[in-house]
Every structure is written in C-alpha cells, then in structure tokens.
C-alpha cells in the first residue's frame, strides 16, 4: 500500500479512520515501561484469550491495542476504554474478565478499578478529569497511550505524516528550516541548542553527504521519556527525521538506540519497515525526488555514547570516545561529514511545528524556551510517571499539582533534575520555572527531563556519592580530569559518608571540582562535579554534620547511623528478629527486643519490616 502522492495519503487516512469507526469501542492496554514491568503483557494475553472465546457484538480483537506509556505509571497497569476514556488502574489478570463483560459487552463501569482522588476521596471515571492529566500539555507525547505502538495506520488516523506531506509538497527546505527556527524549538536532549540554527548550518555545509542522526541513548538514571516515545510512538520520531533530512539535504539517517532498550529497537525497526512499505521512507518519497533511508544502530552499553561525538564514533563502529569539539559535529560529524544530531523528543516535536506552524508552536512555553518538555517524574512523589508540561511551569506545580505531593506526606527535601549532570534544588527554589536557563542559573539544569523528588530520608551526601560513582563508572577514561579527578572526588565523598573526612577535604573537593569543570574534554567530565557542587551549595550543613559530628541527619550513611528499638512501642512481635540476617536482635515474644550494636550491619531491614514504628534510626 504505497503512498505516492499527498492525495493518496488523504485517501489512506480516510480509510484508516473508517476502519476505526467500524469498532467505535477500543480497549487500550498501556504497555509502557512501567506497566510492562508490572505485568501488562499478561493482561494483554488474557484479553486476547477471552475475547477470542467470547463473541462480543461490534467488537473485534483488532480494537484491543497495546499502547505506549499512558503516563500515570504509579497507578499501573492501566487499561483505558475509549471513546469514553474510562480509566482503570492497578488492573490485574483476574480483573480482565469483568472488564470485558461489564465495560465492553455492556456499558458499565467497574468502579473498584477507578482512580481515587486522594484529596477528595472520590473516584474519577475518565483520566482527562484527573489533575495529573488535565494539567499537562502533551505534544511530544501526543500519541502515547492513544495508539497501538505497532500500527502505522493508527498513527495515520492521528494525522500521522501530514506534516511530512506538507513539507515535501508545498514547502522548500529553507522554508522548513525557517519554520523550525521561528518555533524556537531547542534541543530536548538537554543542551538546548537552537534546532533551526543547527539545521541551517548543516544545510549550508558544502561537504557531502549530510547525515541525520537521532540520539536515542537516554542514559540518565531514572529517565524514560525517550524510551516511551521510541517504543510507544516510533513514527513520530521517523516523521521528524524525514522532515529534517529533507531540510538539510540528507539521504541517510541513523537512530542510535542504547543497548539496554531492545523493545525500542524492535518497535522502531517495525516502524521503519512499515514506513518503507507505505512509501514514507525510501526512494522518491510522496512522489518527489527526495529519498531517505533510516538504519537503526545499537549502542554497546555506555552512558558516554550519549555525547554527540562519542555517539558518532560508535555509529561508525569505533570506540565511543568523545573528541574536543573545537570543530563542531554539525560540520564534521559522522564519518567526518556534516551531521545533524537531535534527540528523540526534539524529532517528535517537529511534525507539530510543521503542521501548526512555528508561530503557533511558540505560543506555548516561554519566550526563550518555547513549547513543552517531557519529564519522568519519579522518586518520593505520589504520582510517579511520564508527564509533559509547557516550559515555564514551576517545580512546585509539577511536584505538587501534577505529582500529587510527597509520598506518605513526608517533608520535601530537594528535587534532582537533569540526571548526573544536573543537580539538586531545595524547597526555597520550588517556585522556579522549569526551562533551559533558569534552573542552570540556580546550579542545576533541566537536562533531558529526569526529575527525582527527594524527601527527608534521602541523604544528599549519599546521593552525591551515588551519582559520582555512576560517572566514574561511565567515564570513557580518555582525559585525566574526568578519569582521575572524578575518581578522587568520589573517594572523598565516600570518606565523608564514612565519617573519615575533614573540613579541608571539603575545600579540596571544591577546588578539584573547579579544575575538573575547566579541564575536562567533554560534557560528561565538565558537568561531572555537579552532583557535589549543587548539593554543597544548598546543603552545606548536611555535609558538615557528616564531617564534624560524624552524624547522618537523614539516617542513611551506614557508618554513621544506629538502629535502636523504642521499648515503649515494641510489642515483641519478633518480626524484626526473623528478618535480621546477622542475628543481631534478641528478645522474647511479647517483650521489647534489643539490637546488639556490635553485630548490627545497618542494613535497615528491621526498620523496613517493623509496622509498629518501634525502630528508630539515629
């Protein structure tokens, strides 16, 4: 079914819509990363099995769709019944039959599976009425949760490839670039470079050929925005890339997917095959003389290969080591040729920019950071999941209005943004708008969109130690400041967490950090000290407590804490005794227990298992 002209595309779209009209009721099972880990695959299987057995009028198994990440991962596995938008949460395999009988065969609602608003304690029928969703503005994530992740036809029903048709048939490459520039779209991978300017520079580059690469390496711990888009709406990425290739004059593109995302590779390859079949990729696209092919290139499991020059070496089959970028990769990139490298989310935005026009796109967000940004909101927040909000939304709105506040009502401590290259911001900064520039001034950065919420049980020294150890592990090892400097910085952080550091060590770390920032070859090294620098900026007292008082206020650093039983609260249930692997707790049933401090290895298992609140951390 090859689409040869824009008219063909319109016909195809009508056809796809008509197919959908035949079965107006649809069951969308969320198969995003969170729900998949929670058992969504088994739920899909059960739906298939039962739907085959039962005969439901006006419903076909074709109307059962495995979608990408719907967003509210905390409440998963999620099942949505369209067109009413009935939102079922925490679905289990045993619920499937009831859902089929009541909501598919009939028009009833299984109220037990509905979302309960914690503020009002009332159930909400449709996801559109939940704060978590109603306060979002989904552009890059527009199709996630709404279409089958395997179907190009679903993509086409939601105006898929319309932007491509517009660009190829009534626009010139320069006009496309102008539209993207007007939109103010800045790189969503974190660097925030003007996408339009990047494309323009590549287009002007004389050396041929030009390449287009999509950076799907997404290495930040806790970030899964790009994964969700690659798995759940792969065609949006392809469409963005094809439009880019048309604009900069490229015939060959690559999507570089990190090794740890096999599903993304699978879904992207399927999408590429479908796009080839339908004529959106390949020779003479939509009847023009523009041809473009996309290959998928897999990473080898290295965070540093998310850095553009290292990525390009990896695509070329060489060791992924960055190079000094005094000559930019847009001029000398893949195979030393002009290359446009953009992030998954950036490409996912492009079709919208072209369809509605740059000016319209720029009406959302702020003047310097237009559009929206996807975030993976995780950590100690009530509503963990995948969100997208206009640039300029404040941290407070994201964490409290959308995120639902801190889990278990514990006090907010900080929010970590931007992955290992970012930093922590305390409560006093909660009213900062999230965009490319404001958070950076405050000592963190928006980065690629990871947002980790921390409560008072998180120790910032421990957090800095964790991120530093991550960076030490992931450093490519080429340059001294990063390889040796971050290693030593991490060692010093370990000393602080073990209570063996001095105040001079803190000064040493600050000086070393400065030198690492100045001396490092690439972004990984240059932003490597950030986990330390941002936490020492706002939580110096906590560091000093570890150093001077040998005390960990958050009760985390093992060398500095003690677990003790509160005798008044302990009812002698022996739950902790049976949990303790080093047999450090003694006591008879019904009598208060005692923890032997010499034997205790501070694992915290007793603390976790006690539901009488009878164990404290000091």
């Amino acid at each position: 079914m090859r689409v040869q002209t824009p008219q063909d595309l319109q016909n195809l779209r009508r056809q796809c819509l008509a197919e959908q009209e035949k079965f107006p009721k649809r069951v969308l099972v969320c198969c995003g990363p969170g729900c998949l880990a929670n058992g969504a695959a088994k739920i899909v299987e059960e739906f298939r099995r039962l739907l085959k057995k039962k005969r439901i009028k006006d419903f076909s198994v074709k109307a059962l769709k495995e979608t990408g990440c719907h967003g509210l991962c905390q409440q998963g596995p999620l099942v949505v019944i369209e067109p009413r938008g009935i939102f079922y949460t925490k679905v289990k395999v045993k619920h499937v039959e009831e859902i089929i009988e009541r909501s598919i065969r009939n028009d009833e609602i299984v109220t037990d599976l509905l979302y309960t608003d914690p503020k009002t304690n009332r159930t909400i029928e449709s996801y559109a009425d939940i704060d978590f969703y109603s306060r979002q503005h989904r552009i890059a994530l527009r199709n996630l949760g709404k279409i089958s992740q395997y179907s190009i036809r679903d993509y086409i029903t939601r105006d898929g490839y319309q932007a491509l048709a517009k660009a190829l048939t009534i626009m010139t490459p320069d006009q496309v670039i102008e539209e993207v520039t007007t939109s103010g779209l800045r790189g969503r991978g974190g660097a925030g470079f003007s996408t339009g300017r990047k494309w323009a520079t590549c287009r002007k580059a004389e050396e041929q050929p030009h390449y287009v690469i999509c950076n799907g390496d997404e290495g930040d711990p806790g970030a899964f925005m790009d994964r969700a888009i690659m798995e759940g709406d792969p065609h949006s990425v392809l469409e963005g890339m094809i439009i880019c290739a048309f604009a900069v004059g490229s015939q060959d593109g690559y999507i570089y997917v990190r090794e740890e995302y096999p599903l993304a590779v699978q879904n992207l390859q399927l999408a590429v095959d479908q796009a080839n079949e339908y004529g959106f990729l390949g020779e003479n696209i939509l009847g023009t003389n523009f041809s473009f092919n996309i290959k998928i290139s897999r990473g080898g499991g290295a965070f540093v290969c998310g850095e553009s020059s290292a990525l390009m070496k990896s695509v070329a089959g060489q060791v992924g080591e960055p190079r000094a970028k005094y000559v930019r990769s847009v001029l000398k990139g893949l195979f030393d040729k002009p290359t446009v490298l953009n992030n998954v989310e950036s490409f996912a935005n492009v079709p919208v920019v072209i369809s509605e026009g740059g000016k319209q796109f720029a009406t959302v967000g702020t003047s310097k950071s237009t559009g929206t940004k996807a975030f993976s909101l995780v950590g100690k927040v009530c509503n963990t999941g995948l969100i997208e909000v206009p640039m300029g939304t404040t941290l407070r709105e994201i964490i409290y209005d959308i995120g639902g506040g801190i889990h278990n009502d514990r006090p907010f401590k900080a929010v970590q943004t931007g992955g290992p290259s970012g930093g922590c911001l305390p409560e006093s900064k909660l009213d900062l708008p999230v965009d490319f520039d404001t958070l950076t001034e405050a000592g963190s950065m928006m980065g690629s969109g990871g947002m980790i919420v921390l409560d008072d049980h998180t120790c910032v020294v421990d957090l800095a130690k964790y991120f530093l150890s991550f960076l030490v592990e992931e450093s490519c090892g080429k340059c001294i400041p990063c390889r040796e400097g971050l290693y030593q910085l991490h060692r010093l952080a370990v000393n602080i967490s073990e209570g063996t550091a001095t105040e001079e060590d803190l000064e040493k770390m600050e000086k070393l950090s400065e030198m690492i920032v100045i001396g490092s070859l690439c972004g990984l090294g240059k932003s490597g000290p950030n986990p330390f620098l941002s936490t020492i900026r706002y939580f110096r007292d906590e560091y000093l407590a570890h150093i001077r008082d040998k005390h960990c206020p958050a009760g985390v650093c093992r060398e500095l804490i003690r677990y003790e039983v509160i005798p008044e609260k302990c009812d002698g249930c022996m739950a902790c005794i049976s949990t303790c692997v080093v047999e450090a707790i003694t006591g008879k049933k019904g009598e208060p227990h005692i923890i032997d401090q010499d034997k205790c290895d501070k694992c915290g298992a007793c603390y976790a298992v006690c539901n009488r609140d009878a164990i404290k951390v000091i």
Partner: protein, 258 residues
C-alpha cells in the same frame, strides 16, 4: 597569515595551524604528554591547556587544549595564567596518585612544585598515564596491534583479549615513545619479546649484529617494495661495503690515470 598574541607578544601563524605548534615556535615550553608529531593530536592529558580570550569577549575567557585548537586572528593567548597553572598542578597531582613511581611524572611534578600527591594513591596502579601514544602510533604505522580496552578508571592498554597480538611486528615504536617507559620488552640472543609475543631478530650476515625483527622487515619489504636483501646486512657493514665498492673504483681510476 594569522596574527595572534601569545603571552603579550605578537606571533604569526599559518591558517590551520594548532596553537601548540605556534606556542612552541615562540620558544615557550608547556607540557603536552599525549602529543607526538607522528600522530593526530588527541587532547587526553589536558596539560597543554591555555587560556584564550578576545577583545570582543568582554573579559570572558575560555580554556582549551592548545594541541587541538586551530589558530584564530586576534586571539589572545596566555600559556601560564594562574588558572592554567592551577589546572596543570591539579592534573600532575592526579597523575602522581596514579603513577607515584614514575620518574617522568615526578620530574614534571617537581617543575610545578609538587613533591607528593595530595590524593589517595590508586591501588595496584602501574605507570601508564593512558596518553594513548602507543596505540595511536601503532595505528599510524598501519599495524593496529594494540588498543585501549575497558572504560573509565579500568581503562588500560592491551592486545586483543590480552593475548599475543597477531598484528604486532615487534618494531618497538610503542615502547620507545611511551612517556613513562611502561611497556616492557626484552632483546635476548636471537629473540625479542614484547606483548607476550616472540620475534626473531635479523642477524647481520657479515658481523652478527642484531637489527630489526624479521617480521618487521618482511612487512616493510612487501608493502614498501624494498628488496629483502637490504635488511640482511646491518648499517655499519653497509657503510663498509660502500667504502669497499667505491674504493674499488677509485683504485681502478688511479691505475687508469697513472
């Protein structure tokens, strides 16, 4: 022709030259451990970092590795600014933690006023500073026998799978250009051993002196069209042979004249 200012003095350079070349031409010495003219600049050691600025930058400074930074008109370069010196000291200090026994690093440290590292010494470290010169030179020569393996702090130079490298010809270019003399090799009797591989040394047919390895000679002979017979005599005996040959002609012409 490009004009720039280095440490307050005007310097001239060709378009496309790197800062380090021009700096050295001015007679200014800065360390550059991973630099060698035989290979492309690498930017790994960062010791050649210099401070640059331009009048129109309004006081903003950048710090770049001079080995890789192409010259620009009106660039103002400071090779020994306080920040640069502090950076070099930090780098050397970090290197000392890694290679406390390296003579070369200790000498460099002394130049910059450091006697002992202020950091934790790396357990089981050797003196390799991971400048990459050995692997880059080996690549440049076309053998590609060794490379760096692993990543980050565990990075090291090794032959494939830590076994005798099939592509090594025993030319010693890696060992002889290592700034800290880490690569071991032995020449004993007729054999040379390096990277756990044994090579036969060519013995001069006239005097018995050992020259290069047979493998190296064979590669040179085949790929560069040099008769293998050239390699069978050592340089000293070649000179003697030339003297004998020319002597023969001179004595013949003397006879002819007399």
């Amino acid at each position: 022709m490009v004009h720039l200012i280095i440490n307050g003095k005007v310097a001239q350079a060709e378009e496309g030259e790197m800062l380090l070349t021009v700096i050295r031409r001015q007679g200014i010495e800065i360390p550059a451990l991973c630099h060698h003219e035989a290979v492309e600049p690498f930017g790994a050691c960062r010791l050649c970092t210099v401070e640059i600025t331009k009048e129109e930058w309004n006081g903003w400074k950048n710090h770049v590795t001079s080995c890789l930074y192409p010259v620009e008109s009106n660039l103002i370069v400071n090779t020994h600014s306080p920040t640069v010196i502090e950076l070099r000291k930090t780098l050397i200090d970090l290197l000392l933690a890694r290679c406390p026994n390296s003579l070369k690093i200790r000498q460099l440290a002394e130049e910059y006023g450091i006697t002992k590292t202020s950091y934790e010494e790396i357990p089981d470290a050797d003196n390799c500073i991971l400048c990459g010169l050995c692997t880059r030179i080996c690549d440049q020569m076309g053998f590609d026998a060794i490379s760096t393996v692993d990543r980050g702090h565990g990075k090291r130079v090794a032959p494939p799978f830590d076994e005798a490298p099939p592509d090594c010809v025993g030319c010693l270019a890696c060992a002889l250009n290592c700034p800290t003399n880490v690569i071991e090799f032995t020449d004993e009797g007729n054999y040379r051993t390096i990277w756990k591989k044994q090579f036969e040394l060519i013995t001069c047919a006239k005097c018995g002196k050992k020259t290069i390895t047979k493998e190296f000679a064979e590669v040179l002979s085949e790929s560069r069209n040099i008769p293998m017979s050239y390699f069978e005599i050592c340089d000293e005996c070649h000179r003697k042979e030339l003297a004998q040959a020319m002597g023969g002609i001179c004595s013949w012409s003397r006879e002819a004249v007399s």
